[in-house]
Every structure is written in C-alpha cells, then in structure tokens.
Subunit: 112 residues, 2 copies
DNA sequence: GCTATTTGCCTAGATCGTCAAGGTAAAAGT
DNA sequence: ACTTTTACCTTGACGATCTAGGCAAATAGC
C-alpha cells in the first residue's frame, strides 16, 4: 500500500546511459548494466526487465547494433555497438538532460 | 509516429518541485506552475494536466492542505500549504533526487 | 453593451518507461 | 550432484506525464 517508490534510475535516462557506456567500449547487456552500476558508485541499478527492452528499442531505431559473440567468461553473449545515429542521439539527450537537471536543481536551490 | 518526446519536466520531480515552491509561500495551482516556470528560467513547464492530479495526490497523502480563497486578481482560487509531513517528504525526495542526478551525471562524465 | 482574452480549476484517455517476477540455459565452483 | 553466477528474454502492472478537451468568472478592448 504505502508506496515503495523504488528508483533505481531516473525515468528517461536509461537509453542515454547505455549509449554512454557503449560509447567507450563494445559490451554485452550484462556488462552494460554492471558498467553503469560501477560508474555510478553503486547507486544506479539497471534491472534486466528495463535493460533488454531498452536495447531492443534502440536497436529497432538504429541507435545501436548487436552481434552474437563469446563473453570474457566463455558464455554466449550479444555485443552492442553504437551507430553514428546513436551517437548523435546520445549527444542531444545528454544536453537535454543536463539542461533539465540544472533547471530542476535551480528550483531546488541546489548547486552541484 | 516518429515520437516527439516532449519533456517539460524530469519524470518524478513534479511533486518535489511543487513542495519546494510552497515551502516559501502559500500559492494556488496556477501560481505554482508560474513560479516553477520562472524559477527555472523558463525551462521547466508544468502542464495543468500534470499539475492538478499531482496536487490531489499530495493532498490525499496529507502532504499539502488546500483552502479556497481569492487570488490577487480577484478570482476564486485554491490555495495550498505544505504540512509537516509534506516537509519531511520533500527533504527526503530532494536528497534522493540529488543523489540520483549526481550519479547520472557522473556516468555521463559531467560535473555540474 | 458585447466579445475576446486571461485567469483559474478540472478530467479522461493515451503513451511511455521502469520494475517485479517470472523463465531458460550453460559454465564454473563446491 | 548441486548451487551459484553469468547471460538472455518476456509478460504484466504501475505510475507519472502529456494531450486535449471542458467550465466559469473577471478584466480588457471595442
């Protein structure tokens, strides 16, 4: 009842975050989630139920490209790469996010 | 089709923003939206279709209290005040938001 | 006096992103 | 043998926002 209001992520940021970590490396889904988790000092957590739908969405939109391969631990895994379109999309999402976050922070009277 | 992806606000921040502006003053709905708009340098925009449901939600939860009155422009208007519970809720939401925003920024490699 | 605009409140419907909770399979550790 | 970890996938529900309407009264313009 009372409402748990779990927030592993900020709504609307997952695609952007994924594109960001793929920007440096080509990674598989599992690795993407871990990378985000580590880069955020264990604060952001990407649930699988969010991760895979996001990957499909972006693949369908041509922002990323997948190919099957073998993981570092010898398991079959799907590796993702960002496309040029994906990079452009990332840049614009990033700017938009920063603008909104700054605006929100300024209403809160908080300076990062 | 193509997807407009309008983002007047960051998802999950509206309640917090409203509590924040009510924190200084007692305002009516219309005034709340304007205040947020101004404080954010015209970046954040609160649609009425988001505003009123949010106000009811919070009133139902006991975070704010409403009372009818007359606006500065002589129109009937509903004025809202934050309750003690609302203040506590605001503080915790604010901290949570800052944490998530910082974590997200750090994944983006951005420092505010 | 008539009309348009602004102020102010309200609601119904759709959309979209995330999460919870399931399931499958294979490699490695015990 | 059994469990844990890695890895992928799907379904359903939920919650927050936006679009797009409607209503009413006060002011402004003509």
């Amino acid at each position: 009842m009372a409402k748990t209001f779990n927030a592993d992520l900020m709504q609307g940021t997952l695609d952007m975050l994924i594109l960001r970590v793929l920007h440096s490396d080509s990674l598989h889904g599992w690795g993407i989630a871990q990378r985000i988790h580590v880069l955020s000092s264990d604060i952001l957590k990407v649930e699988e139920g969010s991760l895979y739908p996001s990957l499909y969405r972006m693949e369908r939109k041509g922002l990323i490209k997948a190919s099957w391969g073998i993981s570092e631990l010898n398991r079959r895994a799907k590796f993702y790469k960002v496309t040029k379109t994906g990079m452009k999309y990332y840049e614009s999402e990033r700017e938009k996010w920063i603008q909104l976050a700054s605006a929100t922070a300024s209403v809160l009277g908080h300076s990062f």
